[in-house]
């Protein structure tokens, strides 16, 4: 290091001011030890990831196919992923102030990390290399670069401090439910999550102290140097220096204090770096990585069963991607808050599930966790040894509580996909016969008759008997639309009326449509999500055989669940026709004038079905329809992709829900009641059934009316104009029935 004092003013500073060679040696040795620890920790984790089962979908990354139609299952590119990370978009979503604070810490920390890296580049590399190879020491750490460096990275430091302060304040002052670590599933012998809280605070205070001591050192250095004018560029350090001076720390005293605080800062910083891979701080690496490899297709199109297993039974079943996802969890608790199972008092919290799995997988891989583990007096749950995964590490009651509503996946700021992992574990429960007797009989009924009602497969189209026209059998005559009716709409007495209404409206609008009659089976969406993969495949084979014997242009469904599997999963089995939801079809028909309507002048609210809104982004069509019918739509606080599940999904409709404190459908109904509206609109047969019950159980019968969109449309149907239209155009031409231009779904992943 050559520093020429004869030069009047060089805008730079000494590195290692005052520390002798011995001190420096200790510093470098410590740094080396820190880096070894850090990379050893990272190495352990990488080893853990790569020990995972390579899934058919790829280890971490499913390449997006060129020319893939933009769809809800499209894998976003690397750029989009990086952008999500850089902007903290997913962290800011739903929680703007927390998100902004996090963004400040995020970029502040990156800034400070860059600052240290740049200094090390100059001091340790450029200077040494130039001296060694060129014989003369070069440095870029001076002049305008030095000034800009200080100005910019001071800003980073201030941002980091403000952000951290905000996050600390929130954690201390606001008792938000998602920050409460109380478990949803209570282990018999008890548990303690004290370490989680300690880890959180250690992380926050560690960062805060690191940031603050950095500025204190800067202030002391500037104080020591008698406040050179150019150091005003180091604006925050300069202010801190003035403060030191103001409290009576002279240049001499500053020189005396400096090393002590410097060592404190250095030891804390090195300690922190070594701590990262074994603690909550690891999320700085794992979360962005997980967010980038996140694949929207995974939940919508469930992964395959691991080879040789019927579902997840052991450690080796977890894929690298899943192992990374466990590590990515920051315990932010957003999933815990939105989960309908947890809200209803069921023993499932997606947060707890991920944390349990992480702790268990880490223990099996002998990865130590510092202040990042749950303690239990016994060896249960995440502390269990090598044991059955589903049913032991995660209780079967927990796994069966999931409605697969996908709210957790949607809300997770770091891209964890809880649902596919839950289904993989359910698959092994099904294999072991560990399930509700009612679910078992539903599955048996589906296996034998193709419907969960246990009714004869031949009775499937019996609901059509009440119609004064015959719905074409798409297997016998060509139709434009094939209506995949679904179990509930076909067999449930309460819902058959709705099915007949749909048929009547479409018939009156002259739409060319048909059904598969007794060729249709349960589409299998919920069978698959209940974990009965073999039965799902059997249903798909049966339905595909019926579909390929039929002649049609496109499919529409009334049931959002069937819609999801037909749209996202059946293509893998050869389905090539487009699939739409009846809300989309009806909207097109109304907006294009094919169905004449009168204004209803009602005030209604609308419940977004999980499988329509969250899974498939169909949110505008039902709203456009409601408005086209002259209704004023009042939104519930939880709407669109933030909708709250009715509790029926993922096979839950076949299971006992009497143990719940409050059914999700009742919780939802109360949300609607609070709006002061008296019409609760749905676009899903299961919703109609669930909420018709909920209206009664929350004591709103007669006050709140549950209405399917088809009932609204039926009521608004303008018979006179329809008559006039049919006179003017006696035969609606089937070829005209292409409503391609209307409102369609908002497609693509967010």
């Amino acid at each position: 290091m050559i520093f020429d004092p004869t030069l009047a003013v060089v805008e730079t500073r000494k590195v290692f001011a005052g520390e002798g060679p011995g001190t420096r040696a200790i510093f470098y040795l410590l740094s080396l030890a820190t880096l070894v620890t850090f990379f050893a920790g990272v190495g352990l984790r990488l080893r853990k990831y790569y020990a995972g089962r390579p899934a058919a979908e790829g280890r971490f990354w499913r390449p997006s196919r060129k020319g893939e139609v933009q769809d809800v299952t499209t894998k976003p590119g690397l750029g989009a992923g990086l952008m999500k990370v850089a902007t903290n978009k997913t962290v800011r979503r739903d929680k703007p102030s927390v998100g902004l604070a996090h963004l400040a810490v995020f970029w502040g920390f990156i800034g400070l990390f860059l600052a240290t890296s740049i200094l090390s580049l100059d001091y340790d590399i450029v200077r040494n290399f130039s001296r060694f190879f060129l014989g003369r020491e070069y440095s870029f750490y001076h002049g305008p670069f030095y000034l800009a460096y200080n100005a910019v990275f001071n800003l980073a430091g201030v941002a980091a401090i403000l952000g951290t302060a905000h996050l600390m304040g929130r954690r201390a002052a606001h008792k938000e439910p998602q920050l409460d670590y109380t478990r949803a599933f209570k282990p018999e012998a008890g548990y303690s999550r004290r370490q989680f809280r300690q880890g959180d605070w250690l992380f926050l205070w560690g960062l805060m102290t690191l940031f603050i001591t950095g500025f204190l050192i800067q202030g002391l250095r500037i104080d020591e140097a008698h406040f050179p004018t150019f150091e005003r560029w180091t604006w925050m350090g300069y202010l801190v220096g003035l403060a030191w001076h103001g409290v009576g720390v002279s240049a001499g005293l500053a020189a005396h204090i400096h090393p002590w605080i410097w060592w404190f800062h250095v030891l804390l910083a090195l300690g922190f770096v070594a701590y990262i891979p074994f603690s909550k701080a690891m999320h700085m690496v794992t979360s962005p990585a997980n967010l980038i490899v996140n694949d929207p297709a995974n939940t919508r199109r469930l992964p395959q069963v691991p080879n040789g297993h019927s579902g997840y039974t052991e450690l080796a079943d977890f894929t690298p991607k899943e192992r990374l996802a466990f590590d990515a969890c920051t315990k932010c608790g957003r999933c815990h808050q939105v989960c309908p199972a947890r809200t209803a008092g069921a023993p499932l919290s997606p947060r707890d599930l991920i944390l349990d799995l992480r702790q268990w997988v880490d223990r099996q891989n002998h990865i130590p966790a510092l202040l990042d583990r749950e303690d239990r007096p016994d060896q249960s749950g995440p502390l269990a040894g090598e044991t059955t995964l589903a049913g032991s590490v995660i209780a079967s009651r927990t796994l069966w509580s999931c409605t697969t509503c996908m709210a957790c996946v949607e809300v997770c700021p770091v891209g964890i996909e809880h649902v596919p992992t839950i289904v993989q574990m359910r698959r092994s429960l099904v294999d072991a016969g560990d399930m509700d007797p009612t679910l078992q009989s539903a599955l048996q009924n589906i296996a034998q008759q193709g419907n969960s009602f246990g009714k004869s497969a031949r009775m499937r189209a019996r609901w059509t008997k009440g119609l004064d026209f015959t719905i074409p059998d798409a297997r016998k005559e060509p139709v434009e639309f094939l209506w995949f009716v679904g179990d509930y709409a076909s067999f449930d007495d309460r819902l058959q009326n709705l099915s007949r209404s749909v048929a009547k409206i479409l018939h009156q609008a002259g739409v060319s449509f048909g059904i598969l009659y007794d060729g249709e089976r349960n589409a299998g969406n919920d069978v698959r999500r209940a974990g009965e993969e073999g039965l799902y495949e059997m249903l798909v084979e049966h339905n595909m055989a019926a579909l390929s014997s039929a002649n049609f242009e496109s499919i529409f469904t009334t049931d959002p669940h069937s819609y999801n599997t037909l749209r996202n999963e059946y293509p893998a089995y050869g389905l090539e026709k487009p699939v739409r939801h009846y809300s989309e079809l009806l909207t097109d028909l109304v907006l294009s004038g094919r169905i004449p309507v009168k204004a209803l002048n009602k005030t209604v609210t609308y419940h977004d079905p999980c499988y329509l809104a969250r899974y498939n982004r169909v949110m505008d069509a039902p709203r456009a329809l409601i408005e086209a019918l002259g209704c004023q739509l009042v939104e519930m606080p939880r709407n669109r992709t933030g909708s709250f599940c009715c509790g029926a999904g993922g096979g839950r409709i076949w299971m006992d829900d009497s143990f719940l404190e409050e059914r999700p459908s009742e919780n939802r109904m109360k949300e609607a009641v609070a709006l002061g509206v008296d019409v609760f609109t749905v676009a899903c047969p299961k919703d109609f059934a669930m909420f018709s019950d909920a209206v009664k159980t929350v004591g709103q019968e007669g006050k709140m009316v549950v209405t399917d969109i088809i009932q609204l449309l039926e009521e608004a149907f303008d018979t006179d104009r329809a008559m006039a239209m049919s006179v003017a155009q006696p035969q609606a031409d089937g070829a005209d029935a292409n409503p391609g231009e209307g409102v369609s779904s908002e497609q693509g992943p967010q």
């Binding site: 069963v305 019927s310 099904v430 294999d431 016969g433 399930m435 007797p437 078992q440 599955l443 048996q444 296996a447 034998q448 008759q449 246990g454 009714k455 004869s456 497969a457 031949r458 009965e532 993969e533 073999g534 039965l535 495949e537 059997m538």
Partner: protein, 256 residues
């Protein structure tokens, strides 16, 4: 311990059954055949015995429509072997003939305990357990709700109606007609059934020959005529509720 579970196929009662042209049998052509539910209970009880004290389970059934499905399902649930008895004419097999077919197959088998469903929806000429046991000249018990083996005997609980249970010990070999198993029949995941199918392994044995015809001659099979149908109450739920309360009030069962 070798346990034989005698199973059978039966027209699915979910279906609407029609009588064929002869007027003496159901129209078997378009009816779906499923496993007899009481036989499923028998299989479950056998599986429970196997789990408790170890046993080899052999499921056996006559070759009737879709019987493969039932036998493969039994294997998927834990049966060690499944045997299909062929050679009988298709149609309504009498219980006496069924018993004789099974007895003739059992003749060259080594077995300790035979479990079967207590009854079936078409066993007009009696229930299999008693008939088979009498043909084999071994002890039997029917309407069994629990069977647990103890050495060379089996401890059974029989249900006498009204919830009264009688417990007995029966020396093996014995035949039991199972009413319910100690737990509901387990679920057979479709994947396992398919695996069983892929690995094959259904044994076939021919039982053709002289079979009993102990059944009285059926001369007519017909759906019951609706005698004395209820008077139907119609209208809204509220209307119907009013009428019901009125009826109960007339009986003095609802106060004023």
């Amino acid at each position: 311990m070798r346990i034989v579970v005698a199973m059978r196929q039966l027209a699915d009662l979910v279906e609407e059954l029609e009588v064929d042209d002869s007027g003496t049998d159901i129209d078997r052509e378009f009816v779906k055949f499923v496993s007899n539910e009481w036989d499923e209970a028998a299989l479950e009880e056998a599986l429970l015995i196997k789990e408790q004290s170890g046993a080899e389970i052999v499921a056996v059934a006559l070759d009737e429509p879709d019987v493969d499905q039932t036998l493969y399902t039994a294997i998927a649930k834990g049966a060690d072997k499944a045997v299909k008895l062929t050679g009988l004419e298709e149609g309504w097999v009498s219980t006496h003939s069924r018993a004789k077919a099974i007895a003739s197959w059992l003749g060259d088998q080594q077995w300790d305990l035979l479990l079967t469903g207590v009854q079936a929806a078409d066993d007009l000429d009696g229930q299999l357990a008693g008939i088979l046991a009498a043909q084999l000249q071994v002890p039997h018990a029917a309407v069994v709700v629990s069977a647990q083996t103890e050495g060379s005997s089996v401890k059974v609980s029989q249900e006498l109606g009204g919830g009264t249970i009688v417990e007995e010990t029966i020396a093996l070999p014995a035949v039991l007609g199972i009413q319910t198993a100690r737990q509901a029949p387990r679920y057979a995941p479709i994947t396992r059934i398919r695996q069983a199918m892929q690995s094959g392994g259904l044994e076939e044995a021919s039982v053709a020959g002289d079979l009993a015809e102990g059944r009285p001659t059926v001369r007519r099979l017909y759906p019951p005529e609706k005698t004395g149908h209820a008077e139907m109450l119609t209208g809204s739920a509220s209307d119907v509720a009013d009428k019901i309360i009125e009826l109960l009030r007339a009986k003095g069962l609802v106060k004023s």
